[in-house]
Amino acid sequence: MAVDVGNLLQSMIGAGEGLGADVWNKMQTYAVPELHKIAVQIAAIADHITDYTPEGAKALFDMQVKASVGVIAGMTEMTLLAVQTAINAILNAIRGFVNGAIGFALV
């Protein structure tokens, strides 16, 4: 049984477009290569199915599903971190402006 890695990856990437272009673009540098690796491994389970018991193959597949969900959650965490860094940079700029205008360190 052959699995088309390209189609599988495209489905995963297509699903990510629902997040919005900006966020998804930021996530692509890490998420897409990692999801590609997972898609290749799902295909590899099918390619080597005779090496595994049916229960063993199912456990390996479930492991790849968890990895996919984990990569998405991980990318969301890193996106939130990027947003946090940007917001705090703006707050720092405001702080500098306020303290500069007042003439002493108010904030």
Partner: protein, 193 residues
């Protein structure tokens, strides 16, 4: 004279108002926290776990088909690995600043794209912030690895499973969790943007 003073007050009032607003904003929000802070202990724990897992898989492949490579002879590895991840989950929950991970929308899109029989196996996101979700999935993946090893019986872990476990699966989750800590560490460095 009175007219000049009136004009000055007219200009100063909005400026003072804006300054006060900015001061209040900056004072109220000295820093914003959307994610938990970098945790050195978790990063070191993940790196050590990655090395131990890679070594374990290599050892099991070398002994595959022999008594020393069966699940029965190696079940302690799984108990230890899951206990180590449990500690990381506890630390992550303790330091978390959010109650949930906003990846639910993505997961809905992902599951819509999957065949119906697979859709039910994806389920919903586990509780906690995104970092905790990654660690919970990692713990679950070790459970899948244990189930795989047990289901293989005397066959043990064949060579073809190396990349399935270490490049995808458990390995992918470990790399993701390490990447999160590395990104947080980098963001804490002076001048980070």
């Amino acid at each position: 004279m009175h007219a000049r003073r009136g004009t000055a007050l007219t200009w100063r009032q909005p400026a003072l108002l804006l300054l006060s607003f900015l001061a209040m904003l900056a004072a109220a929000c000295t820093t914003v926290s959307l994610v938990s802070a970098y945790d050195e202990q978790t990063e070191q724990g993940l790196s050590a776990l990655y090395v131990d897992t890679a070594n374990f898989v290599e050892r099991m492949i070398a002994q595959h088909g022999q008594p020393g490579g069966t699940y029965a002879a190696n079940q302690q590895f799984y108990s230890d690995a899951m206990a180590r991840v449990d500690v990381m989950i506890a630390r992550s929950e303790g330091f978390s600043v959010r109650q949930s991970c906003p990846s639910t929308a993505f997961l809905s899109h992902l599951t819509e794209a999957l065949p119906a029989d697979i859709r039910g196996r994806v389920g919903t996101l586990p509780p906690g912030d995104c970092q905790t979700v990654v660690l919970r999935e990692l713990r679950g993946a070790y459970g899948d690895m244990r189930d795989f090893h047990r289901a293989q019986g005397d066959r043990g872990i064949p060579d073809s499973a190396r990349d399935i476990i270490l490049t995808g699966g458990v390995g992918s989750l470990l790399r993701t969790a390490i990447a999160i800590q590395a990104a947080k560490h980098a963001a804490q460095q002076p001048g980070a943007r």
